[in-house]
């Protein structure tokens, strides 16, 4: 049985004057699939994510989310997607509970108080519920960000370096929570990270971006061998330094 297409990107382009931040990329993600979006800084990963979220208008191309045009159904499709990003912290002057409550209202969550209670327990945040988000450690803030990101049980979850600057133990915990969420809900995930071990462990497929273009695509566990590289990290470095040498 074929899986549902949760995200379909066709010919997506973003130009800033003469610069093409994202250059005519196409890809799709099906239900339950975890796709890694890799590339050096400035490759166009965050630009791509921002366009999918609807906070950046593409210069060209189409984005379909759950088979609906994202441009024409922005509010509707955003009810079923969510984001956790290292650069998108929740308001520090609200408590953990208040943050989840405000975003729960925005995402129209039914039985919101019950849902918050569940998430506080799931992410081990119960004891911090009345503390302001700004006083939490970075690990606790990451757990809060992730709790907010799955508040609405999204069918498409965008994770932009969700474990950046976290210690290995917290990173593993975050990855376990995400894996558990995907297994339970069948959500699709687009994941950017500079941690190649993490990508190898979590992603079913990776897309390598360089200068706004998708250069390579494939299984993160077999792709390095296809290009005579020892591992994903070596492949990443090659893409970052000599992208032309890898073009097919």
């Amino acid at each position: 049985m074929s899986k549902d297409l949760n995200l379909k990107v066709t010919g997506l382009t973003k130009e800033y004057g003469p610069t093409k931040a994202v250059d005519n990329i196409s890809f799709s993600i099906t239900e339950g699939e975890v796709v890694g979006l890799l590339g050096p800084n400035g490759a166009g990963k965050t630009t791509t994510i921002n366009m999918i979220l609807g906070v950046l208008e593409p210069s060209g191309g189409d984005i379909e989310i759950f088979c609906k045009s994202a441009k024409e159904n922005r509010s509707l499709v955003n009810e079923h997607l969510n984001l956790a990003a290292v650069y998108a912290q929740l308001p520090e002057n609200l408590t953990v509970w208040e943050n989840l409550y405000v975003f729960g209202l925005l995402y129209n969550i039914q039985d919101l108080k019950g849902r918050i209670k569940y998430l506080l327990k799931e992410f081990d945040l119960e004891k911090f519920k009345d503390q302001k988000a700004g006083v939490l450690s970075s690990g606790e803030q990451s757990r809060l960000n992730l709790a907010k990101a799955i508040l609405n049980e999204p069918k498409l979850l965008l994770l932009d370096e969700p474990t950046a600057s976290l210690d290995p133990s917290t990173s593993r915990l975050i990855r376990e929570k995400i894996r558990k969420f995907v297994d339970r809900t069948g959500a699709a995930i687009l994941w950017t990270s500079h941690n190649m071990n993490e990508i190898e462990a979590m992603c079913d497929r990776v897309l390598f971006l360089s200068h706004g273009k998708i250069l390579l695509e494939g299984n993160p566990r077999t792709l390095p061998k296809e290009y005579n590289k020892k591992d994903l990290e070596e492949l990443f470095i090659a893409v970052a330094r000599e992208p032309l040498s890898l073009e097919l």
């Binding site: 973003k14 800033y16 965050t46 630009t47 921002n50 979220l53 609807g54 906070v55 950046l56 208008e57 509010s75 509707l76 955003n78 009810e79 969510n82 984001l83 990003a85 650069y87 998108a88 912290q89 929740l90 308001p91 520090e92 002057n93 609200l94 408590t95 208040e98 409550y101 405000v102 975003f103 209202l105 925005l106 995402y107 129209n108 302001k132 907010k148």
Partner: protein
């Protein structure tokens, strides 16, 4: 229902902020109280000079209260927006299903509450401290407040449009907008006191009709029928400006979406 929930989310966020840090109440209550006390004492002093045929306290305090109300509405909208700027919350907010009209709606609802709270405190201070009761304007106070509210919200949306377009540093252009317009609003003097060319500017400002009307009622002690067209023009202008300003804000939002400013707003 979903729309109302999202408007409520924007509003309840402000309530949480006030509850979490009561020092924020200073912005709602303290400065307007100081302003009212200052003008209250000035008018009391002027009344002792005894030459005028009317009570300075009546006219000046009425003007101060209504002007502060207008300013508080503008600042209410602006502060709600700035909270998202200061906490770098744009990406999370605008990546949610929140629509721009719901966001603006939430800011306006927040300012209704903050300006109403401020207004109540001003009535109390004016009554207890200086024996002035603005409620003696009677039923007609309501259309005055509505016009001022609509115009204050318009100025608030103007301020946030400027900030959204030019970045957080443009906040300093936003704060003094009501003050910049105040010479032309006829707050403390009749519009006829302005040079002829500037009277045309004053007539284009909805608030000027309110201050003219208020002065007339307080000085004559009754509502005359010639105030009706003034109120209608004031209301009409306020509504037109509000709609136009919302459209401008929406255009600015589209510009910001196109240029990717939401994701990197703090850097502007």
């Amino acid at each position: 229902m979903k729309n109302l929930k999202r408007v409520y989310a924007v509003f309840i966020r402000q309530v949480f902020l006030l509850r979490g840090n009561p020092i924020r109440l200073v912005n709602i209550f303290l400065w307007l109280s100081v302003d009212l006390l200052l003008w209250g004492f000035i008018s009391r002093y002027l009344d002792t000079l005894g030459k005028a045929t009317f009570s300075f306290a009546t006219v000046l305090l009425g003007a101060v209260i209504l002007n502060e109300f207008l300013t508080r509405v503008q600042q209410g909208v602006m502060t709600t927006f700035l909270e998202d700027v200061w906490s770098r919350n744009f990406l999370n907010f605008f990546a949610s299903p929140l629509k721009i009209k719901e966001y603006v709606g939430g800011m306006v609802v927040s300012s209704i509450f903050t300006s109403a709270a401020g207004f109540s405190v001003m009535i109390m201070i004016a009554g207890l401290g200086f024996g002035f009761n603005i409620l003696r304007i009677g039923f007609y106070l309501l259309p005055f407040l509505i016009i001022l509210f609509l115009f204050g919200a318009t100025l608030g949306i103007l301020a946030i449009s400027i900030i959204l377009r030019f970045g957080p540093s443009a906040e300093w252009i936003g704060w003094p907008i009501p003050f910049a317009l105040s010479p032309f609003m006829g707050i403390f003097y009749p519009v006829s006191a302005l040079p002829h060319a500037l009277q045309a500017v004053a007539r284009a400002i909805p608030a000027s009709y309110v201050f003219e009307g208020m002065r007339k009622i307080l000085m004559t002690g009754h509502f005359s029928n010639d105030l009706v067209p003034m109120l209608l023009v004031g209301s009409g202008l306020a509504l037109i400006y509000l709609v136009l300003m919302y459209l401008i804000f929406f255009k600015v939002y589209r510009y910001v979406l196109k240029n990717g400013l939401i994701g990197r707003f703090g850097a502007e």
